[in-house]
């Protein structure tokens, strides 16, 4: 479904992603972990077409991706951003934010679709006409998920969808994502620094360090601690330590 070959991203002198390659099968969830600043968000942004200075090749459903993306791409691929405080327009109500993709893609029945989308992410109907600053962090992130899903995408790029959320809401959002993935056969790429979250949702993952993918492993290997690269080993050891299971 998604194939990335030798992706390089440079911002001026900064070489943010160095030769990353990976593939994701249709309906699969792929995790991307690594230290802060290692280029995880940049990989997602390049896939989404939000950064321009990249080289290498990316393809989705067999079609190569160019610099400019067409309407069909924007309908098929959506992203949830890292920071729920920055990703919702501060002057627009939730209703307005959710109707934007529908207007752009000329999808009818906006009223019912929005109501259904809010229901899907378990938000009460009362939030529909609120502004983002009237919502808590967890509610905002669910609005962002609803926006990503409303035009019926087949690929979802999730950038730390739960890192700003508390444990109870994180559990709600993770359950929601698991349900949606099963119900809609979504292909997901999930970025997180929390290995437990990645292990919960993904079947395979890649570990990044300073812009390079240093190791790709599957869920069982991650849970079993059978990593080969020292950076991966360190990450696993630290997570266990914090979990209190080390």
């Amino acid at each position: 479904m998604i194939e990335v070959r030798d992706l390089n991203v440079r911002f001026g002198k900064v070489h943010a992603v160095r030769g990353a390659s990976f593939t994701v099968a249709e309906g699969e969830s792929f995790g991307l972990v690594g230290e802060s600043g290692s280029g995880k968000s940049t990989v997602l942004r390049a896939l989404a077409g939000l950064v321009t200075g990249w080289t290498g090749s990316m393809s989705m459903a067999g079609c190569a991706l160019g610099r400019r993306r067409d309407a069909a791409f924007h309908r098929a691929v959506q992203m949830v951003f890292q920071d729920p405080y920055g990703s919702l327009h501060p002057r627009q109500t939730v209703d307005r934010i959710l109707s934007e993709p529908l207007i752009v893609h000329r999808i009818p029945d906006a009223d019912q679709r929005i109501a259904r989308a809010l229901e899907e992410v378990a938000l009460p109907r009362a939030v529909r006409f609120r502004f983002p600053h009237q919502l808590s962090g967890g509610q905002r992130q669910r609005v962002a998920v609803a926006r990503a899903l409303i035009a019926g995408p087949s690929v979802l790029l999730l950038d730390e969808p739960t890192s700003a959320l508390d444990a109870t809401v994180q559990a709600e959002v993770l359950n929601l994502l698991a349900d949606l993935r099963a119900a809609r056969r979504l292909t997901c790429i999930l970025v997180s620094h929390n290995l437990a979250v990645v292990a919960h949702l993904c079947t395979r993952l890649a570990v990044m360090q300073q812009g390079e993918i240093v190791e790709t492993l599957d869920e069982a290997a991650l849970r079993g601690g059978r990593a080969t690269h020292p950076h991966t080993k360190e990450l696993i050891a630290l997570s266990r330590d914090l979990d209190g299971t080390g």
């Binding site: 911002f11 002198k13 900064v14 972990v33 690594g34 230290e35 802060s36 600043g37 968000s41 940049t42 890292q82 920071d83 405080y85 920055g86 808590s136 962090g137 967890g138 509610q139 950038d159 730390e160 890192s163 700003a164 959320l165 508390d166 444990a167 109870t168 809401v169 994180q170 559990a171 709600e172 993770l174 359950n175 698991a178 620094h193 290995l195 437990a196 979250v197 292990a199 919960h200 869920e219 991650l222 849970r223 360190e234 990450l235 696993i236 630290l238 997570s239 266990r240 330590d241 914090l242 979990d243 209190g244 299971t245």
Partner: protein
């Protein structure tokens, strides 16, 4: 020893369309030179309590308290001038939404240097040196580049670390850290907490760590206060967290995904309206 901060009976309300909406309902806390963890679910009033200690709430908010005292200053009667001196110099607040709180059109390093210069007398050059030093203390690999980068050119975790550096720059007595490490991976998180720990033990700083990460708070802090619906549910020693009795605290602990074992579904918290009345 006099406590660094003392809150007694704090109430904060926001104007809603149908009267006052309470956000904090009678919180009492005493903080010495220690590490206090403030945990609770989203919307439980953690950030509002932290902001009340800085008097950084929107003007529409109504604040009532029996005592609200920080570093010997009574916040209920302090003049704006006194508050300004207190903020930054004596108290620092690491905000929850770092990239959103940084000035988007000013290089990150300049913002740190400015915070440093506001409370240390020194030249531009010294401020720059100090800012670079702080950036490397929060484990930024390439301080010179990050110094000159605009906030949108930083990764999520870098923005968070810039915010931390900015708040440490004036050398505060009391630091309120609102989710300071939520976007950081375990390695950097551990290092930053070590840095904060050193500041608490060497300089005798007081720290309020607001977080939703219970395991982290229990390892790092001395004392934990659990909030729900604007009230304090229970207060316990960090080491005793696993023995927490309140069903809300237990629920919080229960719904974490784990690395050692796969779980089909994460249990979500069933909330009991009675929690709002007790204990």
């Amino acid at each position: 020893m006099t406590p660094l901060a003392e809150i007694r009976g704090l109430h904060v309300d926001f104007p809603g369309s149908t009267g006052w909406q309470p956000a904090v309902r009678g919180v009492s806390l005493v903080l010495g030179r220690e590490k206090l963890g403030l945990v609770g679910e989203s919307g439980s009033g953690k950030s509002v309590t932290g902001r009340a200690l800085m008097r950084l709430l929107p003007p529409s908010a109504r604040i009532r308290a029996e005592t609200l005292r920080v570093a010997g200053t009574d916040l209920l009667t302090a003049t704006p001038e006194a508050m300004r001196r207190l903020r930054g110099a004596r108290i620092g607040l690491i905000l929850q939404d770092p990239k959103f709180s940084l000035n988007p059109v000013m290089p990150a390093g300049e913002q740190i240097a400015e915070a440093w210069r506001a409370h240390h007398r020194g030249s531009r050059r010294e401020a720059r040196e100090a800012a670079l030093e702080l950036l490397s203390q929060v484990l930024i690999r390439d301080p010179a580049r990050v110094f000159a980068a605009y906030p949108h050119e930083l990764s999520g975790g870098m923005g968070q670390r810039v915010m931390i550096a900015m708040m440490l720059a004036p050398g505060p007595d009391l630091l309120i850290a609102d989710e300071p490490t939520s976007a950081l991976d375990a390695t950097v998180q551990a290092e930053i907490l070590r840095l904060l720990d050193r500041l608490v033990s060497d300089r005798g700083m007081g720290l309020v760590l607001i977080s939703h990460d219970l395991p982290l708070v229990s390892r790092f802090c001395d004392r934990i206060v659990v909030m729900y619906g604007g009230r304090v549910m229970e207060e316990l020693r960090a080491a005793d967290l696993h023995a927490a009795r309140h069903p809300y605290t237990r629920g919080l602990l229960n719904c974490l995904p784990r690395l050692d074992a796969a779980r089909q579904r994460l249990p979500v918290l069933a909330r009991d309206p009675a929690w709002l009345e007790g204990p």
